[in-house]
């Protein structure tokens, strides 16, 4: 098992190299010049040329990439073009905020979606199932910026229960976390339901029932465990996506997260910051995937057996 984990971690290295390579080149292909970006409107041709030279922007892209990777290995992601602050420091400030938001959203979705999925499956075609699935469909279909605004109008503007934005203690976490949770709840519910439906039709469930095991235990012990694997996959994917993709929610709720940082950096053509954000996304996505794979093994002995 440890060997497997180690191997998986080692596999992350080529992934990271591939990601940085692609992103570095794509950013270099986009129009706009970093030196004139840094110097702003009033810059003279001369000073732009001097800064380009100083920053090594005249070197071939591959040389620039090599330099970037060498620094990266030393833990140096460079300094932001627009703020002059270190990328590591800035991301260090923003990433925990996004993580806080994402983990809350995922916990909310798990708490809501798994039970609904199970009940919907065990009571298929009941009124509960229909209502649950309609909600799931609506939840998946609502864009998060719209959900966010509706929640703000309802709970901040009208009821005044929660602040409309910003990051000010637990209260300010509620609305953005729910906004993010709504979409992922919907997809996790649907996955749980369909995999439960598949499992409860298996022979071994019938066997268990025939043995006289109570329905409750059949569902909880025999069926759920096997049905959870696809659900965990979806949870992992959602978690990974949310870590990098909560841009709209972060914007609507003025949440100082890393998604917003990246979009703002793209607009400012702040290459080191964009690269830094993408590396963090890729890294967190890989780590989440690794954790999910380990969880599979934990839940399913057959998978664990393969790793020995």
């Amino acid at each position: 098992m440890y060997k497997y984990i180690f191997r998986r971690i080692a596999m992350m290295i080529p992934v990271m190299i591939g990601v940085t390579f692609l992103v570095f080149f794509i950013i270099n292909l986009t129009p706009g010049d970093a030196a004139s970006m840094i110097l702003g409107d009033g810059a003279t041709e001369e000073s732009i040329r001097a800064l380009r030279e100083e920053m090594g922007l005249n070197d071939p892209v591959i040389v620039q990439y090599g330099r970037y990777m060498t620094n990266l290995l030393k833990g140096d992601l460079g300094t932001s073009y627009s703020t002059g602050k270190t990328v590591v420091g800035e991301i260090g400030q923003r990433f925990p905020n996004t993580f806080k938001l994402t983990i809350s959203a995922i916990i909310i979705s798990i708490i809501i979606s798994i039970p609904i999925g199970i009940i919907s499956a065990t009571k298929q075609y009941s009124i509960f199932d229909s209502v649950g699935m309609i909600f799931a469909l609506v939840g998946v279909s609502m864009p998060s910026f719209w959900t966010g605004l509706i929640l703000i109008i309802a709970f901040s503007l009208n009821f005044r229960w929660f602040p409309s934005g910003g990051m000010d203690g637990l209260k300010s976490l509620v609305l953005p976390a729910f906004t993010l949770a709504i979409a992922s709840t919907a997809s996790i519910t649907r996955t749980t339901r369909s995999s439960m439906l598949e499992v409860v039709r298996q022979d071994y469930i019938n066997t268990a029932k025939a043995k006289g095991v109570s329905k409750n235990i059949v569902i909880r012990k025999h069926a759920l465990k096997n049905a959870l694997i696809p659900a965990i996959t979806v949870i992992g994917l959602e978690f990974g996506i949310l870590l990098g993709g909560a841009v709209l929610t972060e914007t609507v709720f003025s949440w100082p997260g890393i998604g917003r940082l990246m979009v703002e950096s793209i607009q400012r053509k702040d290459t080191p910051m964009v690269l830094g954000c993408i590396i963090v996304f890729a890294l967190s996505f890989s780590i989440v995937n690794l954790i999910i794979d380990i969880l599979y093994a934990y839940i399913d002995p057959r998978i664990r057996a393969n790793y020995r």
Binding site: G32, E45, F99, S156, S164, M167, L261
Partner: protein, 517 residues
């Protein structure tokens, strides 16, 4: 057993996340008077607040006044630092740290600075700091252009400096009002703190900057100028990127002022008895540019025709909900020496001019634009042009690409806006001086007479003569008509109705230190 393990893990994650949620102490618990406020919505008399919360649409980029060149960061820099001169709400230069000044010759400025000014760390400000700051400004990438006309800075005595400019440079005092000309304490800057905890001399001191979230300042009780002390104990700038969210935060009382209110929310704020709307014309001119090098726009008559063809009123309604004024020349009316042209919407006259120019049946062209607002502007122009027989296609660009391709000069026509610094020279030089073709002279006008006006006015130290030169410049350039000026967008500020002394300059919210409940 394993199930229990899994649930334990989940509980652990939950507890951890709560821990993270609480680990950052709620810095501004005092900022939540919203509930009490709004239950008593009918009484505008709010409880005495000690804190002013201002919503910004984007985060500041630097606390170093010489490390940025954007208006958001400027708001903060102006509270933390002083300059030798500042602008009043009418855009006139008034002394700040300067006590008096004289001009021994056309290129020399001797400035006496006020005595008894101390920085936030208690050290006194002297001419050494002034020299240091202005020289530093010339070397800092973002603001090195601000004082580029300065040749040398000499210390005369502890409270006097002599600044020599390279040429007789009329806008000199205007360059000293820029945030990049802020006076920073030499000892602090040299200490290597890199403005993590900036020390200035301004009416407010630095407390905290949470990236992407907020900047917190506290009143400087030892401010040198007793008449212009900060009014509120604390000022918090909150970053709220989404326009609707900004308006809602104002409505719920979470913020006291919204610096840039969305035009679509104008009515909402106006109709709300608890809120007040402040508007004044900005220095930003939105314009329809033509590539003066390309046919048919190399023909003056065609350019003039288009100045008659475009319905600016309709554009303002569609693009900015009417929150602006029609632009009558290449600059905003608040600028020195402004003179309006007499173009008006008159399609018949436009057709006549086109016929005279040799295009009685019109022609086809493309309009380049970027962003939603400019797209709407382009669509109205497209309709206007159709009326005079010109068929236009619209081509959209991503912003970064847009500026790049415009500089290359491949465009036929384009929609753009330009926010001016206080002195006219800083706008007309980049936009209309022939040497800047390939740079910001997007309309690519190359006209000797225009060049001469720009250079002469820059050198003219006699204010009245300078105004006269600019008057002539405006008249001449609008006759040449390199662009069609469209509108001057208003600065729109929404504020709690109980706030007093909210002032706007053409650059938006002004003298923030004076605002109070």
């Amino acid at each position: 057993m394993k199930k229990r393990g899994l649930s334990l893990l989940l509980i652990l994650v939950l507890v951890l996340s709560l821990g993270v949620g609480c680990s950052k102490p709620a810095e501004t618990t005092t900022a939540a008077p919203s509930q009490e406020d709004t239950t008593a919505a009918t009484e505008p008399a709010a409880p005495v607040k000690e804190e002013l919360v201002i919503a910004l649409s984007a985060d500041i980029t630097s606390l170093d006044p010489q490390g940025h060149n954007d208006t958001k960061s400027e708001r903060v820099s102006f509270l933390l630092f002083n300059r030798l001169f500042k602008l009043n709400t009418d855009f006139e230069v008034v002394p700040d740290l300067a006590e008096s000044w004289e001009q021994p010759s056309d290129t020399e400025w001797v400035i006496k600075i006020k005595e008894g000014v101390t920085f936030h760390d208690g050290t006194p400000m002297t001419s050494k700091d002034v020299k240091y700051s202005l020289e530093r400004s010339q070397t800092m990438p973002k603001v090195q252009h601000v004082l580029s006309e300065v040749e040398s800075i000499e210390i005369v005595d502890d409270y006097t400096v002599k600044i020599t400019t390279k040429i007789a440079f009329a806008p000199f005092l205007y360059t000293l009002v820029h945030a990049g000309a802020s006076i920073v304490p030499e000892a602090y800057v040299e200490s290597g703190d890199e403005f993590k905890n900036p020390v200035g001399s301004g009416p407010y001191t630095f407390v905290e900057w949470a990236s992407g979230d907020r900047v917190v300042l506290a009143k400087n009780e030892n401010y040198y100028d007793a008449d212009n002390m900060g009014q509120m104990a604390k000022i918090v700038f909150r970053v709220i990127p989404e326009g609707t969210s900004r308006t809602i935060a104002l409505e719920t009382g979470e913020v006291d002022i919204v610096d840039e209110l969305q035009t679509i929310d104008l009515g909402k704020v106006e109709d709300n008895a608890d809120l007040t709307l402040y508007q004044n014309p900005s220095t930003r001119v939105d314009f329809f540019g033509m590539n003066n090098e390309k046919a048919p726009y190399d023909n003056k008559l065609v350019r003039q025709a288009l100045n008659y063809a475009i319905d600016k009123e309709a554009i303002m309604i569609v693009a900015i909900e009417g929150a602006g004024t029609e632009a009558k020349s290449v600059l905003a009316p608040s600028m020195l020496g402004f003179k309006a042209s007499d173009y008006e919407y008159n399609p018949e006259k436009a057709k006549e001019l086109l016929a005279q120019a040799g295009y009685p049946d019109g022609f086809t062209t493309t309009i380049w634009a970027s962003g939603d607002e400019r797209k709407r502007i382009a669509e109205i122009i497209q309709g206007n042009l159709m009326e005079i027989g010109v068929t236009a296609e619209i081509e959209m660009f991503e912003w970064g690409t847009y500026i790049d391709v415009l500089m290359k000069g491949e465009e036929e026509t384009f929609v753009l806006g330009w926010t001016s610094n206080p002195d006219p020279d800083s706008t007309i030089t980049p936009l209309y001086y022939s040497e800047n073709i390939g740079g910001m002279n997007f309309s690519r006008i190359n006209n000797e007479k225009i060049d001469n006006y720009i250079v002469d006015a820059r050198k003219e130290l006699d204010l009245q003569k300078r105004i006269g030169l600019y008057n002539e410049f405006h008249q001449y350039i609008m006759e040449e008509a390199p662009i069609v000026p469209l509108f001057i967008k208003n600065n729109i500020v929404g504020a709690n109705a109980a706030l007093k002394d909210v002032e706007l300059s053409p650059q938006g919210l002004w003298n923030i230190e004076k605002i109070h409940y």
